[in-house]
């Protein structure tokens, strides 16, 4: 590796992590001014835990994330199975396009168009509409994660089970599903964090009484930098860090288990 490439890599990683580091450090700042260091303190965490509306919003977000990740987990796994196992079926290209398009579609378009649908069919806006919207854009991500695992799967176990007379249902639930379970779990966790993170789509499709954590944070961020948000962000980063560790542990296990 040339010195140039090595420097580029180091700088890129520093660029990626410096803002996050600054955020975490200043969440322990005693001063109310975010850019002046006033000594170590955990007072903003105390303020955070006494903030009723913020905690309520966090609970709404958790509920939405769990439900939408469960739906996306099922849909994404099914779609990955269809793409991996059904060969070159008719309309495969369109199917793939439809599955992956929501991943890159600008969020303002997805949010607005789903809202217009919900209003058009008279669905009451709230937690349920956010769940539907999040499940829709997370399905493709789950399909990518599960699809990668399916591609690398040794088919001989499934073939052996089928040769021994197991029905296709039995092969799936007895062999395939346990083998891909870690990637399904990783896909679920990815869908979960994507849902926890979403501001734009939720803002469009949510209704009165359903304020998610990013929506609440955004309304405060618009007023300027504030140390309580730094504390909330640090907790979210720590949570996501744990989830990522879990997910990478789950996917790394395939080396030993599978």
């Amino acid at each position: 590796m040339s010195a140039f490439a090595r420097t580029a890599l180091t700088l890129a990683l520093a660029f990626l992590y410096a803002p996050i580091l600054v955020l975490v450090i200043y969440s322990f700042n005693d001063s109310k001014l975010v850019t002046v260091w006033g000594g170590f303190s955990t007072r903003w965490y105390a303020v955070l835990f006494a903030d009723g509306p913020l905690i309520a919003a966090a609970l709404v977000s958790l509920k939405v994330a769990l439900l939408s990740a469960a739906i996306a987990g099922v849909l994404g796994t099914l779609a990955a199975l269809a793409l991996d196992r059904h060969g070159r079926f008719r309309g495969r290209g369109a199917y793939t396009g439809l599955l992956y398009a929501p991943m890159v579609m600008p969020e303002v378009i997805t949010g607005l168009s789903l809202l217009l649908l919900f209003v058009g069919i008279g669905l009451d806006r709230g937690v349920s509409t956010i769940v539907i919207a999040h499940a829709t854009f997370a399905t493709g991500f789950v399909a990518v994660v599960v699809g990668a695992r399916l591609k690398g799967l040794d088919r001989s176990l499934e073939e052996a089970a089928a040769d021994l007379g197991a029905s296709s249902m039995r092969v799936f639930f007895g062999i395939t599903l346990p083998l891909i379970a870690p990637s399904v779990a990783a896909g679920f966790l990815l869908a979960f964090t994507l849902s926890l993170d979403d501001l734009v789509i939720a803002s469009f499709v949510s209704g009165p009484g359903a304020t998610t954590l990013p929506m609440r944070l955004y309304s405060q961020v618009r007023l300027g930098v504030n140390p309580e948000i730094n504390a909330a962000s640090t907790l979210m980063i720590a949570t996501v860090g744990l989830v990522v560790l879990m997910a990478s542990w789950l996917t790394a296990r395939r080396g030993q288990g599978g």
Binding site: A12, F15, G76, A101, D197, L199, Y218, V221
Partner: protein, 304 residues
């Protein structure tokens, strides 16, 4: 028979969901982009009169018009917003290609033990909240922020640079938030390059730089194209970054759509902006798909 039913279920359930909650909403948006705003619930006209039968449909179709698109075409605001969205997204994609290529190259050349760690390091920020990562830049870029403070202490500048609330803030934010989307596809291609090719080039006397520009880079072009697409499309419609890091005069279509919807409550005009945004991003996708297809055909031709 049960096998066929199972296949239908496996393939059909995600299909039905995505058609219902991804394709149909676009059709609804397209329809409403031809409507007029109204102080009613829902806030647009006309609404289909399902009881009216064919006559109701005819009245509905006659009430539709192009006034929102006329407005978009005539009002300079929308044209400027469209052009500057494309400009920001294009410029940021170019910067990302310049940063992402050496980064991905270094990752692909790292030892086998380091590669998974480096990949994880690039992915982790992607899992971390987008809103929070953009918010983090406010404290760094503001006039009394960390960057200006550091530059002034070093004596490089006399007074704070207005980076926050300027086009530079938006570009920094875009580059930062989308870097993993550029690096990962590039790395995926570069890590799969046959190392014997590089050895052959070295044996034939090509220096590292020459090998990179004549071998690695051309072979990594598909990764570069995929990364550019993954960054460019969402960036054109980006809302959070221009809203938090750009000034009040930073025009981007995502932000225009947002304010038409939330501030002006003009749903039909917001829908027309969404259609315009969609048209802008369909072009690059089609070009990419065609290039992809041509490459696959060429690869199959060589394989035979």
């Amino acid at each position: 028979m049960s096998g066929r039913l199972a296949r239908l279920f496996v393939r059909g359930l995600p299909l039905v969901w995505l058609v219902l909650f991804f394709l149909v909403p676009f059709a609804v948006t397209l329809k409403i982009s031809f409507s007029s705003p109204a102080t009613a619930q829902p806030p647009y006209l006309p609404v289909i009169d399902w009881q009216g039968g064919l006559e109701g449909w005819r009245e509905f179709l006659e009430a539709l018009d192009f006034q929102n698109y006329r407005m978009i075409a005539e009002d300079a605001l929308y044209r400027d917003a469209a052009l500057s969205s494309l400009g920001y997204a294009g410029l940021a994609t170019a910067i990302l290609a310049l940063i992402g290529t050496p980064t991905a190259y270094a990752m692909a050349r790292a030892s086998a033990r380091w590669q998974p760690i480096l990949v994880a390091l690039v992915i982790v920020p992607f899992w971390t909240s987008f809103l929070i990562r953009v918010y983090a830049w406010i404290a760094i870029l503001k006039p009394e922020g960390l960057l200006n403070g550091a530059l002034m202490k070093l004596g490089l500048i006399a007074s704070p640079l207005p980076i926050l609330d300027s086009p530079y803030g938006v570009l920094i934010g875009l580059t930062y938030a989308y870097l993993p989307f550029m690096v990962l596809p590039l790395y995926a291609v570069m890590s799969r390059l046959d190392p014997t090719l590089l050895e052959a080039a070295a044996d034939l006397g090509a220096g590292r730089r020459r090998a990179f520009f004549t071998l690695t880079l051309p072979l990594a072009l598909p990764g570069l194209a995929a990364g550019a697409l993954l960054c460019f499309i969402p960036m054109v419609g980006e809302f959070i970054i221009p809203d938090l890091l750009g000034g009040s005069d930073t025009l981007m279509l995502g932000r225009v759509l947002w304010s038409e919807f939330f501030s002006n409550r003009d749903w039909p005009l917001a829908s027309a902006v969404a259609v315009l945004l969609l048209i802008l991003i369909v072009g690059p996708v089609v070009l990419f798909r065609e290039a992809e297809l041509r490459r696959e055909e060429a690869a199959e031709g060589r394989g035979r």
